[in-house]
């Protein structure tokens, strides 16, 4: 290629030559430009993800002694309502009885609470339809009724009627002691 006359050929692509050095430098420059833009695009996109201080506040502790039997306490967790419900034996029995009913999102009641802690139900209080907050005790199953589009949840938080596709979600949580949980 050393005999390619640089500057004397106005169009480097004449007569189907092999790729010459000018083609190479064009491609190399293009690749470098794409690499630069791509390398900058990621930081510019990632900056919109949750920041360090936001993530640092992602878990909370909750004292279960604040809830009495038959009651529900709502706390804010990651900007959303968290339902902590102390179920009565009657409500637990109703939930277990329906374990094998025709459920839209099949799940046993056992799988929705921690072992030996059937009375405490911890759920994310966001309707799986379009994100409204379901009302405690509403609907014919005694669980929750979403005021927006009428989704009905049972006493295990499972979807039974209405447009919502899934059960109320159970967050990651653990018992720190008999009366204290850590969510997130």
């Amino acid at each position: 290629m050393a005999d390619t006359v640089v500057g004397a050929t106005p169009d480097p692509h004449v007569s189907g030559d092999d790729p010459n050095r000018r083609d190479f430098i064009h491609i190399a420059a293009g690749v470098a430009a794409v690499g630069l833009v791509g390398g900058l695009a990621w930081p510019f996109i990632d900056q919109m993800n949750p920041a360090g201080d936001t993530l640092a506040l992602a878990s909370i502790e909750f004292d279960l002694s604040k809830v009495v039997e038959g009651q529900q306490v709502v706390v804010k967790w990651r900007g959303k309502p968290l339902f902590v419900r102390y179920r009565t034996p009657k409500e637990i029995a109703a939930a277990i009885k329906d374990d094998h009913a025709d459920l839209r999102d099949p799940a046993t009641d056992e799988s929705r609470h921690k072992p030996g802690k059937a009375q405490y139900l911890v759920l994310i209080g966001v309707c799986t339809h379009l994100g409204c907050v379901p009302t405690f005790g509403g609907g014919e199953y005694g669980g929750w009724l979403c005021p927006c589009h009428g989704s009905v949840y049972d006493t295990s938080g499972r979807i039974r009627k209405g447009p919502a596709p899934l059960n109320l979600a159970v967050p990651d949580y653990a018992f720190l002691s008999d009366s204290k949980i850590k969510v997130g």
């Binding site: 006359v5 640089v6 510019f44 900056q47 360090g52 201080d53």
Partner: protein, 439 residues
């Protein structure tokens, strides 16, 4: 150079679009086939650099605005949060803060190139004035932006600059109060400065559009300052100047990256890492480096109103420069005497910059004993800035008009191509420096 379009739509879609929105024709005529003098040197690449810097500042600025809180109680902490917690916030902020400095480096080179090659002269006066408008808008944007982190220098800089307006007779104090939205620089001031800081870059982008429009009517000036006389004097913008500008932009970006990654705080003031305290002014108040010469002119005058008038006058002078220059020859290549005064002018701007960074009473040569003259020691920076300011104004108002009438310029070539063809490098093959032999 504008008017006649060489665009030919190739596909059916391009023909369809061309009769409805000739945007491809516009792009083609602007950045592909635009006839550009073939002898532009690297001083002409800073227009492209500036366009890129404006883009970088707008993109990084929009990102910062997503995380910044314009409130006196939260502004400083929100900036710290950007630096510490927001993903890559440090990168975006350092790009934005150092980007402002890079923007000004480029604009100063662009302006000095213009002065040297006489690009502001007819028929490019409007192009030059639009450039001055952009520069003025840049100064305002940079000032508003510097206030936003709400550090000590931000706050007291805002106090000093807004008080400049108070020097105006009669209406001054009312205007200052109106700017503040209160009795002092406070939350309302910060909020409106944030609003204006977000607005002005888009105004700049609009004026840049006019600037490019005004450029494309007469076309580029060139290092000889001689008008384009034939198509042989020009080459199409693409690929010749897209590649040349691209190469210059690459080098410029490397310098930018060195600042962002290795010297991110070198151009800023340490004091601005202290939260704003309206009850205490820092020992030494200075603006960012790119405004130091004007700051030096302000302080050179021992009278508040005159200082302000001269400071604004130093920028205002630029607007009337096309009518102060009496020389028929554009390029200083052919004006050896003017060239000497021009380099002294650059030197005076640098001296004024150094003066602006020092306290007025600091001694230029420490330990030297100089007599007191009028109100200050002759060895002090205040006297040096007076000399610098005097030369700054004399260059535009005295030297430029008089020199154009009295100097004897060298003979300018008949066309752009003439000096190229008569240059030793253009001699036939076998000459010492024929580039085609290098393979």
């Amino acid at each position: 150079m504008s008017g006649h379009s060489t665009y030919e739509p190739k596909t059916g879609f391009e023909r369809w679009l061309d009769t409805r929105l000739p945007i491809l024709r516009f792009a083609n005529d602007t950045i592909v086939t635009f006839p550009t003098p073939k002898n532009l040197n690297y001083w002409w690449t800073f227009g492209g650099v500036l366009a890129m810097m404006l883009g970088i500042q707008i993109v990084t600025g929009i990102i910062l605005a997503m995380h910044y809180v314009p409130h006196v109680d939260y502004a400083f902490n929100s900036v710290q949060r950007i630096m510490r917690d927001v993903n890559y916030g440090w990168l975006v902020r350092y790009m934005h803060a150092n980007g402002a400095s890079m923007f000004f480096i480029a604009v100063y080179i662009h302006m000095f190139r213009n002065l040297y090659y006489g690009s502001y002269k007819a028929p490019r006066e409007v192009l030059w004035i639009l450039g001055c408008v952009i520069y003025l808008l840049m100064i305002m944007t940079a000032f508003f932006g510097y206030v936003l982190p709400w550090g000590q220098m931000s706050f007291h800089g805002a106090v000093v600059i807004t008080n400049l307006i108070g020097a105006l007779p009669v209406v001054g104090p009312s205007i200052t109060t109106w700017l503040w939205g209160g009795f002092a620089v406070d939350d309302p001031t910060l909020n409106r400065f944030f609003s204006l800081h977000y607005l002005l870059p888009f105004v700049i982008a609009g004026v840049v559009g006019l600037h490019i429009w005004a450029l494309h009517v007469p076309g580029n000036n060139n290092p000889t300052g001689v008008n384009v006389t034939s198509p042989q004097d020009t080459v199409p913008f693409h690929p010749y100047y897209t590649v040349k500008d691209g190469f210059a932009i690459s080098l410029f970006l490397i310098m930018f990256a060195v600042f962002v990654f290795y010297l991110p705080d070198s151009l800023g003031e340490v004091v601005n890492n202290v939260p704003a305290n309206p009850l205490q002014t820092p020992q030494h108040i200075v603006p960012e480096w790119y405004l130091l010469p004007f700051y030096a002119i302000l302080r050179a005058v021992p009278n508040k109103l005159m200082g302000v008038i001269l400071m604004f006058g130093s920028i205002g002078t630029l607007f009337v420069l096309p009518w102060l220059d009496t020389s028929k020859v554009r390029s200083m290549r052919y004006r050896p005497t003017a060239r000497i005064y021009f380099f002294i002018f650059i030197f005076s701007c640098l001296v004024l910059g150094v003066c602006g960074a020092h306290a007025p009473d600091d001694l230029v040569i420490p330990g030297a004993t100089a007599p007191q003259f009028l109100d200050a020691n002759l060895d002090s920076y205040v006297w040096l800035s007076r000399i610098g300011a005097l030369y700054y104004f004399a260059y535009f108002w005295l030297i430029t008009p008089v020199l154009g009438l009295t100097e004897t310029p060298l003979p300018a070539p008949d066309s752009i191509s003439t000096p190229v063809l008569s240059h030793p490098a253009a001699a036939p093959a076998g000459a010492v420096s024929s580039p085609e032999k290098r393979g």
